[in-house]
Every structure is written in structure tokens, then in C-alpha cells.
């Protein structure tokens, strides 16, 4: 299998606060993988994901997506690259006052004719696609509600539908279930798994709970203080590794 994403010596220093968020991180992801990134809060998980689609500007290092240098892209090329990378977020990042449908259609902005988007006029096939994606995540009946009228789990599913609109090759999920209860967490994770298995979308998800990481991940990457401290299969994380990643005082918490 081909390597879809290659990250080489990625370093990020936040000038404000002089924080070294990522320290010489290198790894690669193959097509169709479900990579889970774990680590404590502040270990650099979010920064890593945001560097991949350049929401955060890397300080150093290279990122290649399908062989194209993401770090060197700009303007139209960067937008084309971003189009292929869907992303969902811990806080869902929906426009709360817009309708669910508008939020989902926003995922299509990289594709549509910009003049039509100026007037909020999306092509009928895009609207159809949006409704189909909402159907897929089981909230077709909520399409015309305002986004903030939905529950947390439903909002995250809107986020997934928005990412689906991009017809992504890579889906990044930044702690997608941290704001959700355990039952809802699993339903959201299952949609990610479904996209991964059925559509062959590569998934990179950062997660808090090791139990979720073990259940869904095909491979695990652990970050600590911006460095990779573990890279391997879920089963390879034993008690000692766990303590190394999460610190001596940590206890494993099971999320069912």
C-alpha cells in the first residue's frame, strides 16, 4: 500500500508564550489506515492535526499528501489540498445560527462556483448530496433546524456530514468525542469507522481514552510534550508504556 501522508521532522513553536508544541515529529500514514493519536492535554495532538491541513503554520519540517508538499502549497493549491482533507472538531465548530443544511453545504465551498456561493445558491445536486449525507448519519429530519437546536451528538454528526461533502480522502478528527457522553461517543466513532471501512477514507483521530483508541484504531501514535513516544499496534501498549505516555499517577479508565 502506498503512503498517503508523510510527515517529516515537523516542529511547531508558538511564538506567543514560547511553547514548543511539536518537537521533530516524523511518521507516515498508509491509505485506509485508522490512526489514533493519543496523549495528555497539551501534548500537541491538536497542533499536529492542524499542521497537516495548515490551519496552523508549521515552524519547520515537511508534510506530503499524496506526494504533494503541503507545507509549500499556497492559494488555490492549498485550497485544493484542504478540499481532500475533511476535519471534525471537539467543539463541532458549526455556525450555530445557520441551519443544519447550510452548515453541511459549507463543506462543498471548495468545489462550487464561487459566484453562486456568494448568493448562497448551491447546485441542486449538492443539496441532494447534503441531504443524503445527513440521511447517512441519521439526522435527515433535522436538516432545516438551526444548528444550535441539536444535541451534542447530533451536532457532531452534522460535522461528519459536512466533512463527507468534501468527498475526502483523509479525515482528521480532533478529539471528536471529548464533549460527548460515552454512549454518544461510540455512535460517533462508529460513523468514523464506517467511513474508514466502507469508503476507504484514511482516518486520523486524536482521542483521550485509550480504551476508545484500542477499540477503533488500527495503529496508535502517542505524543508527550510534542514528541512521539510510541508508535505501533494497539495491543502493544502495556502497563509500562501506558505510564510512560500518561505519567506515573495515571490510571486506565474504561469507556464502554
Amino acid at each position: 500500500m502506498a503512503e498517503q501522508l508523510v510527515v517529516e521532522h515537523l516542529t511547531k513553536v508558538y511564538e506567543r508564550g514560547d511553547i514548543l508544541a511539536l518537537d521533530d515529529v516524523s511518521f507516515s500514514v498508509e491509505k485506509g489506515e485508522f490512526l489514533v493519536v493519543i496523549g495528555l492535554s497539551g501534548s500537541g495532538k491538536s497542533t499536529l492535526l492542524r499542521c497537516i491541513n495548515r490551519l496552523v503554520e508549521p515552524t519547520e519540517g515537511k508534510i506530503y499528501f499524496d506526494g504533494v508538499d503541503v507545507t509549500a502549497a499556497s492559494g488555490a493549491e492549498l485550497r485544493r489540498l484542504r478540499r481532500k482533507m475533511g476535519m471534525i472538531y471537539q467543539q463541532f465548530n458549526l455556525v450555530k445560527r445557520s441551519s443544519v443544511l447550510t452548515n453541511v453545504l459549507a463543506g462543498r465551498l471548495g468545489y462550487v462556483n464561487p459566484w453562486r456561493s456568494l448568493l448562497h445558491r448551491f447546485p441542486p445536486e449538492d443539496i441532494e448530496m447534503a441531504l443524503k449525507n445527513l440521511e447517512r448519519v441519521g439526522i435527515r429530519d433535522q436538516a432545516y433546524k438551526r444548528a444550535d437546536e441539536l444535541s451534542g451528538g447530533q451536532q457532531q454528526r452534522v460535522g461528519i456530514a459536512r466533512a463527507l461533502m468534501q468527498e475526502p480522502e483523509l479525515l482528521m478528527a480532533d478529539e471528536p468525542v471529548s464533549a460527548l457522553d460515552p454512549a454518544t461517543s461510540h455512535s460517533v466513532m462508529k460513523y468514523l469507522e464506517q467511513m474508514n471501512r466502507e469508503d476507504g477514507v484514511t482516518v486520523i483521530a486524536s482521542l483521550h481514552f485509550l480504551s476508545l483508541a484500542r477499540r477503533y484504531g488500527t495503529r496508535i501514535l502517542a505524543l508527550k510534550d510534542g514528541k512521539i513516544v510510541f508508535e505501533g499496534l494497539p495491543d502493544e501498549i502495556d502497563e509500562a508504556k501506558f505510564k510512560e505516555i500518561y505519567g506515573e499517577e495515571a490510571e486506565q479508565v474504561e469507556v464502554r
Binding site: 514560547d18 490551519l55 475533511g86 465548530n93 455556525v95 450555530k96 445557520s98 447550510t102 465551498l109 510534550d225
Partner: protein
């Protein structure tokens, strides 16, 4: 290679600049405060003592007096610094503590105050080198240290707070407010006596105003060729047009004045700074002053008033709008940018839906202000009901019922302003 800052969370070591900057600023603020107290003292001496004895003239500081004033305030400043918790110190995040992070004793404070002179005479250069690692003479003598709050974040919660009147800062604040009120009272010539003495003599005015004469409410005044009703309608339309035009123009400009939209390139920062500057300058010139300019430019009349109100509205709304844009939730913007959208698409789909309600609310609020302003803009030739108001006021002495006519105009303005205020308030409640 990028620099690799340490991630340790222990006591923060400050650079020379970080350590000296707040100390310099705190010192200057305290010095200025004492200088202000000296000015107030001078003013009061003049008012109560000098003019009463000499009857005319002013008490001036002789040439040899200036060094005394400067040195005196300097001494007071040093004293407030040595005693700790002065206004400047708390403003710029400094705390005077002992080496073991406790509050210094009175003895130590005196030692610091006196020792300061010693280190100033002996080693003035050491100020430049003074940090936590490299302490000055008076610090060593008294065993105290001026800490920057952020370097001792961990021990701060352990320091017991003091009642405000026991701190240097609290006492200084009271002194500053006291001097300001006292001197201000005298400069603005506040005279409660005359307010009560002449109350009866102005009684006829109240009587006239409270028995308004509505003869020309609908029937036009033959000399003025207009009625109160058409005057107030003119004012309402002026306010309406000014708000609408101002809002429409301010809307696109507000994005240029928002940091989170423009702050991505040097050119963007330039536009942002320029836009904010323009908003601030225009806003600081009152509508009435703009009225003077436009009354000359386009001649007297409601058009001048509309222009004056519009330009002030653009600046005022522009600033309020910009702040709304800066206050939007950045999450959705990030998400939309990540889909591969263009920058303007991010604004249209991410920012605009978030700001529309507050834009409407602010515009309505501005409409209230403009209605009130449109009733008096005639003072400088801007048209509207104010023209009638000032006309009747000018007829006092010529027309026996001039004050009653004024009363009618004032009554009409009050009713209309109140009604529009109420309506826009209700609408705003619905929106937000």
C-alpha cells in the same frame, strides 16, 4: 533551527527587559500621581490662602522651587515604592516581598527607603543590572525584593491579602479622587446656593413649559412656514436615513477594521490600523460639529443634518461592528477554511451569520441616538424640529407665549423619542 524553549514550570527567570520595564513604568506612574497631588495642593493653596491675602495675582513657583517640587515628589514616590503595593506597582504587576516571599516588616521598609538613596549615590549603574539574581544594594540591605508577579505565580496565592485602606494603593486612590473632586468642584464653579436661591425666579419658565401651546402643532406657523408635526416628521426621516446609510456603509468597512480578519499580513495590519484610526477620529468629533461643516458645505437644511448624522453613524457603528467581528467564535471559521473555502467565503459563511443579530441590535440602538440627535442638530443649521424649537426660544420677549410654544415642541420631542426608544427596545429584545 528553531529555538527550543524549556518547558519547565518552575520559577520563571525574567530577562532584564521583562524585569525593568514594569519597574520603570510603575515608578513613572507613581511619580506622575504624586505630581498630580502637588498640582492639586498648589491650586488649593492659591484658592484658599494666597488670593485671600493678596487679593489678586497667582501664587507661582519660584525658580528655586521647581527642584524642590521635583525632588519632593520623587522622594514620595521612592517612599511609596519602598513601602510596597503602591498604585504603580499593583498596576504593572509588581510585589515587594522578602526573600522568603513574606510581606516585609516596617523596619525592612524603612531600610529599603533609606538604602535606596545609598544605592543611588553609590551605584547608579546597578539599576541596569538589577534582577532577581543581581540585586541592588537597598534590596540586599533590607532583605527585600521587588518581584514581577508572573515570576512568582506559584507563591502569590500564599500571600495574605490586606484590606484596601491598609495598602499604599488604596490610600493613594482615595487621595487622587479627593484632590480631583475638590479641585474639580472649584474649577467648574459649582454653586449649590444659587441653584436654590433662584429656584423661585425661574418658576414662570416651568409654568409656561408645563402649559404647552399646541396652536401650531398641525397648523403651520405663518412666520415660520412650518408646523411642529412636519418638523418632527422631518427629524424622524433624517434619523432614519442617516442610520440606514451609515449602517450600509459601515457594514463592509467593519471587516476592514477587525483584527481577526485583517491580521494576517503587514498590509492587512496597515488597513486595520488605518480603519480603526479613521473610526476613532470621526467618532470623536460630535455630530453637532460635523453639522457645522456640512451646513456650510451644502447650506443650511435637513440634508446637512443627514450628512452630519450619517458620517458619525458610520464611525460609531463601524467601531461597534468591528468589535463584533472580532468577538465571533473562531471555531466555525477554522472549520470552513479547512474545507478549502476562499477567505471571503469563510467570512460570508462563518462570520456573517454570527454577527447579523448584534448588527441589527446596534443599528437600532444607533437609530435611537440619531433620533435624539436629529432633534437638536438644527442648533448648527441641520434642519428638523430643532429649527422650530430654537425659533420659538428666540421669540422670548417678542411673543408673550413663546415659552409655551417651546413647551409644546419639547413635549412632542419627548413623546416621540420615548415611543421610538420603547419600540426599538422591544425589537432588540426579540433579536438578541
Amino acid at each position: 533551527m528553531a529555538k527550543r524553549p524549556s518547558k519547565s514550570k518552575s520559577v520563571k527567570i525574567l530577562s532584564r527587559w521583562e524585569a525593568l520595564r514594569p519597574r520603570f513604568l510603575a515608578f513613572m506612574l507613581d511619580w506622575i500621581s504624586w505630581g498630580y497631588v502637588a498640582y492639586g495642593t498648589m491650586y488649593l493653596l492659591n484658592y484658599y490662602w494666597y488670593t485671600n491675602i493678596h487679593y489678586y495675582g497667582r501664587l507661582t513657583v519660584p525658580e528655586w522651587g521647581w527642584p524642590i517640587v521635583i525632588l519632593g515628589t520623587l522622594e514620595l514616590t521612592v517612599a511609596s515604592h519602598a513601602f510596597g503595593h503602591s498604585l504603580g506597582q499593583s498596576m504593572f504587576g509588581l510585589r515587594l516581598l522578602t526573600e522568603s516571599y513574606t510581606l516585609p516588616s516596617l523596619r525592612q521598609r524603612w531600610q529599603r527607603f533609606l538604602g535606596w538613596h545609598l544605592s543611588l549615590i553609590a551605584f547608579p549603574v546597578t539599576i541596569w543590572n538589577s534582577t532577581q539574581q543581581n540585586r541592588m544594594l537597598h534590596d540586599r540591605l533590607s532583605g527585600t525584593q521587588m518581584y514581577v508577579v508572573k515570576e512568582i505565580k506559584d507563591v502569590m496565592p500564599l500571600i495574605p491579602p490586606r484590606a484596601w485602606y491598609k495598602t499604599n494603593r488604596g490610600v493613594m486612590t482615595v487621595i487622587l479622587i479627593g484632590v480631583t473632586v475638590w479641585v474639580g468642584w472649584l474649577t467648574t464653579k459649582i454653586n449649590l446656593g444659587i441653584l436654590i436661591d433662584r429656584a423661585e425666579e425661574s418658576g414662570y419658565l416651568w409654568k409656561a413649559l408645563l402649559t404647552p401651546d399646541f396652536t401650531h402643532f398641525i397648523v403651520p406657523d405663518p412666520e415660520l412656514h412650518t408646523s411642529i408635526l412636519s418638523g418632527i416628521i422631518e427629524s424622524i426621516f433624517m434619523a432614519f436615513l442617516a442610520t440606514l446609510l451609515g449602517g450600509i456603509i459601515a457594514f463592509p468597512l467593519s471587516f476592514l477594521g477587525a483584527r481577526n480578519i485583517m491580521g494576517f499580513s503587514p498590509l492587512g495590519w496597515l488597513v486595520y490600523g488605518f480603519m480603526r484610526g479613521v473610526f476613532n477620529v470621526i467618532r470623536s468629533i460630535e455630530s453637532l460639529l460635523w453639522g457645522i461643516i456640512f451646513a456650510i458645505w451644502v447650506r443650511f437644511g435637513p440634508f446637512a443634518g443627514v450628512l452630519a448624522l450619517t458620517i458619525h453613524t458610520i464611525a460609531a457603528l463601524g467601531k461597534l461592528y468591528s468589535e463584533q467581528v472580532e468577538g465571533v467564535d473562531p471555531g466555525p471559521l477554522e472549520a470552513i477554511a479547512a474545507t478549502g473555502a476562499r477567505r471571503w467565503q469563510v467570512i460570508l459563511y462563518g462570520v456573517v451569520p454570527q454577527i447579523i443579530p448584534s448588527y441589527l441590535a446596534f443599528t437600532l440602538y444607533r437609530w435611537d441616538i440619531n433620533v435624539r440627535m436629529a432633534t437638536v442638530i438644527a442648533l448648527v443649521g441641520g434642519g428638523g424640529i430643532g429649527r422650530i424649537l430654537f425659533y420659538y426660544k428666540g421669540q422670548v420677549g417678542r411673543l408673550p407665549n413663546a415659552w409655551n410654544q417651546v413647551g409644546a415642541v419639547v413635549f412632542t420631542i419627548a413623546v416621540v423619542v420615548w415611543a421610538l426608544d420603547y419600540i426599538s427596545g422591544r425589537v432588540r429584545e426579540k433579536i438578541v
